[in-house]
């Protein structure tokens, strides 16, 4: 009977030892670390800022008769809006959109010419457009164009 009682204790020790060995065995690979090396690279980059178109100029083109407006391109702008206001009655024409830093003001662009008299002048301004409405560029200094004749055609005032 004493022998029989001792066996379970002995067996318990063996089981404990086996479990410990298994635990150690499992733990060993986790403790075994592969080597690792890390480095970083940095660069300088900043967000741009809105600008105002400069050097707005008008050139009269005779055939077809148009008033060609040009201005310095603005970095980061995706397009430009061109606004025309009739000097005689503050009537707003447009705004018109152009993807480049030039636009031809034609009588056709102004649409219904009825009611517009030859010699009517318009004040043109340019504003850059960015891909987000949160960015609002400045407005160019105004420049004037005029209707060349009732039958059509524009020229620089």
């Amino acid at each position: 009977m004493p022998r029989a009682a001792a066996r379970p204790r002995h067996g318990g020790l063996v089981v404990t030892a086996v479990l410990a060995a298994l635990l150690l065995g499992v733990g060993a690979p986790a403790a075994y670390g592969l080597w690792r090396a890390t480095t970083t690279a940095t660069a300088t980059l900043a967000g741009g800022a809105v600008s105002t178109p400069t050097n707005l100029a008008c050139a009269s083109i005779t055939s077809p008769r148009v008033a060609r407006l040009t201005w310095n391109a603005v970095t980061g702008a995706t397009s430009y809006t061109v606004s025309l206001v009739r000097d005689q009655n503050s009537q707003q024409m447009g705004p018109f959109t152009t993807a480049t830093n030039t636009i031809d003001i034609t009588s056709g662009l102004l649409g219904g010419l009825s009611g517009l008299l030859a010699g009517a002048t318009f004040t043109a301004t340019i504003q850059p457009v960015y891909s987000t409405s949160a960015w609002v560029g400045g407005i160019s200094a105004p420049i004037k164009v005029q209707l060349y004749s009732v039958l059509g055609g524009m020229s620089c005032a």
Binding site: T39, T40, L45, S131, A134, W135
Partner: protein
């Protein structure tokens, strides 16, 4: 009493016997061997902009800037450690809402994408490993979201690329 005395005698004998066994040394001989110097190696990684650090122009909403980064394992000469590459990129925390970094092995857009904000880091190569002398050319692209707020103007994106070489276990 006789039994007690006998027991003491036996006990002393056993103690002496055990001591004698412990004091009894096995024979041994030793000799110093001359061997070459053995030092531990190391594993290191280097990352260099190619051909030089980018001089990026200011970035606007909807735009991206790219540059190449060459990664090489630069551990001890003679190392045989094989490795895999893991990269990540980030912009300044204040710009993280509208600035992002994507990284490819090879060409931007057409190479193997190894880091993106949505996909995280992808180990390269996907299978196998790189040799100690291998170099990997990364294309780093920093972008500004098309809907970036006005606060993004003149703000530093300060992109940082983290390159990690992991030893590839056999």
């Amino acid at each position: 009493m006789r039994l007690v005395r006998a027991g003491l005698v036996l006990g002393v004998a056993l103690v002496l016997g055990a001591g004698a066994t412990a004091a009894h040394a096995y024979w041994k001989a030793q000799s110093a061997l001359t061997a070459g110097t053995v030092v531990t190696g190391d594993m290191n990684v280097a990352a260099a902009w190619s051909p030089s650090a980018p001089a990026w122009a200011a970035i606007y909403p909807g735009e991206s800037r790219t540059a190449n980064l060459v990664v090489s394992e630069s551990g001890s000469t003679g190392t045989t450690l094989q490795w895999t590459l893991q990269v990540s990129g980030a912009v300044a925390a204040a710009s993280s809402a509208y600035g992002s970094v994507q990284i490819w092995v090879g060409a931007c857009g057409t190479g193997t994408l190894v880091y993106s904000p949505g996909g995280g880091s992808v180990t390269y190569p996907a299978s196998g490993s790189l040799l100690p002398t291998d170099t990997v050319t990364l294309c780093v692209q920093v972008s500004m979201a098309a809907n970036a707020p006005a606060a993004a103007q003149n703000a530093a994106l300060a992109p940082t690329i983290t390159v990690t070489a992991n030893q590839k276990g056999s």
